[in-house]
């Protein structure tokens, strides 16, 4: 059974490059724990999913989004 095709939210809004500084947008593509949402759930195309994962990793390094949400050091 093929799963139904979801449309890529980035292609729909004509985003060519995902900005790692845009923490509000990136926040929509991480789980409650802070994990990267798989393309199976977000519907992102392969190209944007690759960009998204790089952008999220960069944003985490810059402390714009957490590595683990709700974690108290």
């Amino acid at each position: 059974m093929r799963r139904p095709q979801k449309s890529c939210p980035f292609c729909e809004s004509r985003v060519r490059w995902i900005d790692y500084k845009d923490d509000r947008t990136l926040g929509r593509f991480i789980t409650d724990q802070g994990k990267i949402l798989p393309s199976r759930l977000s519907g992102s195309c392969a190209r944007h999913q690759r960009q998204l994962s790089t952008a999220i990793k960069r944003a985490r390094f810059l402390a714009l989004i957490p590595y683990i949400r709700g974690h108290q050091a």
């Binding site: 095709q5 060519r16 790692y20 500084k21 960069r58 402390a63 714009l64």
Partner: protein, 120 residues
Amino acid sequence: MPRTYEAVYIFDSTLEDAAINDKIARFHGMLGTKEQPEVAHWGRRQLAYSIGPRENGYYVVSKFATEPTTLPEYERALKLDEGVIRYLITLHEHEVGAPPQSEEDLAAATRRDDDDDDED
């Protein structure tokens, strides 16, 4: 050939604005760029997680074009500066290898995708 880079610096939020500006001017002086780098101050904001004892940081984003050979010295200065909590330097050459798509291209790509689906 000069390449365009984007750098994000996170400074210690206890530093004064004048001290931060001095540091930025010193770092950018090392790049030897003819054009003045574009600098955007985000100001003080809370970090998503604490870095050592720090909960806040002063964010600055800058964009500049420079020769790649000038980067090691510049990066070393950033690494050794105790006022810089973290920094990230990335290539900012989005135009290269990705020409803007026109309406027709996009429509053609969508049609191709649809055709592929039919074959399955």
